[in-house]
Amino acid sequence: MEQNAETRRMLADSEVQPLREEKPLRLEPPKPKQKKKIFSRGVIYTGLIVLTIICFIPFLMMLVNATRTNGEIMSGFSLLPGTALLDNYAILSDYINIWTGFKNSLIIAVLVTLLSGYFSAMTAFGFAFYDFKGKNAMFIFMLVMMMVPGQLGLIGFYEISKTLGILDSFIPLIIPSIASPFVVFFIRQYTQATLHVSMIEAARIDGASELRIFHTIALPMMMPAVATMSIFTFIGSWNNYLMPLVLLFSPEKYTLPVLMGFLKGSQVAENLGALYLGIAISVVPIMIAFLFMSKYIVSSISAGAVKE
């Protein structure tokens, strides 16, 4: 899935451009049309609000039903919250510890984001500021491999994890993020536009080591590009389902998405209120994070796709 998210932006361009805000042109319409315009705007706004409700109502029903008893949910639909929230939580935690899944997902997603950001910046730095044999060939090879869907190597990946003895651990979910071709590509493009060789050379004259130059000069300047990619890396890892499903066997190591899938087949599924509550716990933190991040996420999606 992570690979998937990467290929989604493979045709992307270098610049991290903020969204250009629309400034409507002043084209005054003839007076008699005024009434018709107000009417059509009303229709459009109604449509937009209906669409907004469609986007949100499944979550609303989830939240409402998480507070109702099994019997109440089965007997009818309501938008008024019930009083069974704590009972549902008790039923849910009898079967699974959802916070363990939460913790596992968080550990993996944070480490993946850090490793991918740091090592991609390092690789991009190597590609952008040094001239060595085979550099272009390696870069092109990396770009070609970027197009290969993640499922192609799935069976081989499982086998090598088995050989290395790292099945049923977080290692095969975390370590591969050191090599994230798309992130390298994105940061390199960004770096070439913003970071000039002369700054590197000035630091060399001042006697800084190469690694120090990377840490104190290059990395801070790459941060906007790293941050843009980190949002997607984090979401991709958080939502990754196939890989942990294949690689993890012990329930206490399950990530949140795998735990959700596990819930479906468990006895919790017989109590709809508890099931809704489990889903709600997995969803609400992301919704809250999104409230604060939506502006950045939107401009990151645009930056990944639009060539200006």
């Binding site: 045709l11 250009r20 499922q151 959700m260 796709a305 060539k307």
Partner: protein, 299 residues
């Protein structure tokens, strides 16, 4: 300077060690397995192209291919149509709609949610007897008997398509909107002065200039769509019920490998999927470029 260039290798070394181990090697290992009868324990035999021969005549795989395309196609048509319509409305100079940021956030929200939670949520919302959707529809009076959404092939596939549209139209909308905002106002002004109506502006100005963006959305959506897996796995019984209508290619791959231990055959399925992805992407690219040449000639 020349001496320092050796540091380049040091900076890219960690990447390549991990990349070769966890990305390149598995791809070739999978290729090797696709020519064997490997079942998860050592001692596999080379069987030549037997797995690929089986793939071509495997009705389940062909069915999975058709299902995947159907589900993706319906979803893509709806998703891109909705995204274009919304982008047009919001960029219309005469309408001056407000609240773009607000609506955009809500439209994008479903995309952020863990897909297994989405599957689980819709699994119970679409439930035949106790699902909220049937209860609402019954209350409003649109239907008189509950519809068993997930037990009939057509409604099950349509449900998955619609859930995918629900998840992805906001994403496409953001990208299309960014593309539309990038088009210079001069084009629209010129077209306006020339007396173009809304539809003409759309077909002669917006659409041709958006072509690269639409191509990008289509290719990425296609690649993602061909890998459809989580929703069909979690919405029903995990092997594609009802009647195999939710059996998709990656679900088939997953089941062959990790349920039935047919690793050799599953590896061939993976390469089949890869080839299909390549062919489809090439067709989309070619189609787009041919049209471009035709319109250039026409102009």
């Amino acid at each position: 300077m020349k001496k320092l260039d050796r540091y380049g290798y040091a900076f890219i070394a960690p990447f390549w060690v991990v990349f070769l181990t966890f990305s390149i090697y598995p791809v070739f290992l999978t290729l090797y397995y696709s020519f064997t009868n490997y079942t998860g324990s050592p001692g596999e035999e080379i069987v030549g192209f037997a797995n690929y021969a089986r793939l071509l005549t495997d009705t389940y795989f062909i069915e999975a291919f058709v299902n995947t395309i159907k589900i993706w196609g319906v979803n893509f048509a709806l998703q891109i149509g909705l995204a274009l319509l919304l982008a047009l409305l919001f960029s219309d100079l005469r309408l001056k709609l407000k609240g773009l940021a607000f609506f955009r956030s809500f439209f994008y929200l479903p995309n952020l949610i863990t897909i297994s939670s989405v599957a689980l949520l819709f699994g119970i919302l679409l439930d035949w007897q106790h699902g909220s959707l049937n209860m609402i529809l019954l209350k409003i009076g649109i239907i008189s008997d509950p519809i068993n959404w997930l037990s009939q092939p057509v409604t099950a596939q349509l449900s998955v398509s619609l859930i995918l549209t629900w998840m992805w139209f906001g994403h496409s909308f953001i990208i299309v909107m960014a593309g539309v905002s990038g088009i210079s106002k001069d084009f629209f002004e010129a077209a306006h002065i020339d007396g173009a109506n809304r539809w003409q502006m759309f077909t002669y100005v917006t659409l041709p200039l958006l072509k690269p963006i639409l191509l990008y959305i289509m290719i990425t959506s296609l690649i993602g769509g061909l890998q459809l897996f989580d929703l069909p796995l979690l919405l029903t019984d995990g092997i594609g019920a009802p009647d195999g209508s939710l059996n998709t290619m990656v679900l088939y791959l997953y089941n062959q490998a990790f349920k039935y231990n047919n690793y050799g055959y599953a590896a061939a399925v993976a390469y089949g999927l890869f080839l299909i992805t390549l062919v489809f992407s090439a067709v989309v690219f070619k189609g787009m470029f041919r049209k471009e040449r035709a319109t250039q000639k026409g102009a």
